[in-house]
Symmetry: C2
Subunit: 170 residues, 2 copies
DNA sequence: AAAGCAATTCACAAAACTGTGAATAGTGTG
DNA sequence: CACACTATTCACAGTTTTGTGAATTGCTTT
């Protein structure tokens, strides 16, 4: 039972990283699917491949990919004349996409806190919630900065890491 | 019985915000307890008060506060000659404390990704995981900046807010 | 040292979550 | 137009989580 190319190690890594994502609020199965797609060498995966690779039923994949597509982490596409869907990482810079996604969540939290503040009588509690809102707003305001700096950082990494690449399709 | 001073509204807010914290990875009961302490006017709370306020058993409070104390979000203290523990928000700048807490998590993720990279054969998967690690590292490196800026922002808010209302009571 | 409380622990029941298998719907092909 | 095959939905079962009630522990006071 030779582990050709360390696929076993890869599987282990996928589970570990999925756990991290899980603890950050992502549901278990979507986390596993995403980690799998991220760490795999293939550029696209069919549902059947994912089910096989993760040893779960197609039903589980169906739900997971729907969520991931909804949250813009994966894209589903199907070449004309093909019968199966293919999934791949949504963006070349997926993590920035993820950060971008947080914004709607922050908006939600902001309104929740704002509504709370309106109903809370003045006092220490009100003061703490107010400061909480300020903090969330501040963090959100830093996302732009983060994006800019990451872009630069990333570009720097790319040029220093590179020149291994030929012309045609990736 | 009238809802004196909107305590009902406060309770509702507590539940909503607890849900937010919950979705960010905090367990349900600790999230409720923390939200309650945050939004309450009292500076300290006994376990009995928390149990009463949240309508749960003392046993549930015991577990929740232990976790919150462990994660440095609440402090437990007991005045000499007092028989009960009193809990209060750990820091005046609690959210920065929370951010600080993330660092150990990031260290863990970093080693996990690094170990993964060592076992992964070169290829697209390796490349993506590598970039993932770079991203996590980058975000972590931004925490310092965040802390500094927040400090300034907060100070500014304080001074601009202070002269508005100063007197007693309200 | 015994009583009185608060805090904690533990076994257990209720509730929530997760993934499966089977049925259903949808789509392209011969 | 019917077939072949993929994707999705749904009821259900296994598992995990969560909070309770009943002890148990530990401290303080008398």
């Amino acid at each position: 039972m030779a582990d050709q190319g360390g696929e076993l190690a890869r599987a282990r890594f996928v589970e570990q990283f999925a756990l991290v994502l899980n603890e950050s609020g992502m549901q278990r199965m979507p986390a596993r699917v995403f980690a799998y797609v991220l760490a795999s060498d293939a550029q696209t995966h069919t549902a059947a491949e994912l089910a096989e690779g993760l040893q779960v039923s197609p039903a589980a994949i169906s739900g997971a990919v729907r969520l991931l597509v909804d949250m813009s982490m994966l894209v589903r596409d199907r070449a004309p004349g093909d019968r199966v869907d293919h999934y791949r990482i949504y963006s070349d810079d997926i993590w920035m996409t993820v950060v971008g996604r947080q914004e709607s969540m922050y908006r939600h939290i902001d309104t929740l806190l704002s509504n709370g503040l309106r109903t809370l009588a003045p006092g220490p509690g009100h003061r703490r919630v107010h400061e909480t809102r300020e903090f969330y707003r501040f963090v959100e305001s830093q996302f732009d900065t983060l994006a800019t700096r990451w872009e630069a950082h990333r570009a720097a990494l790319r040029t220093s890491r590179e020149p291994v690449r030929s012309a045609s399709g990736e």
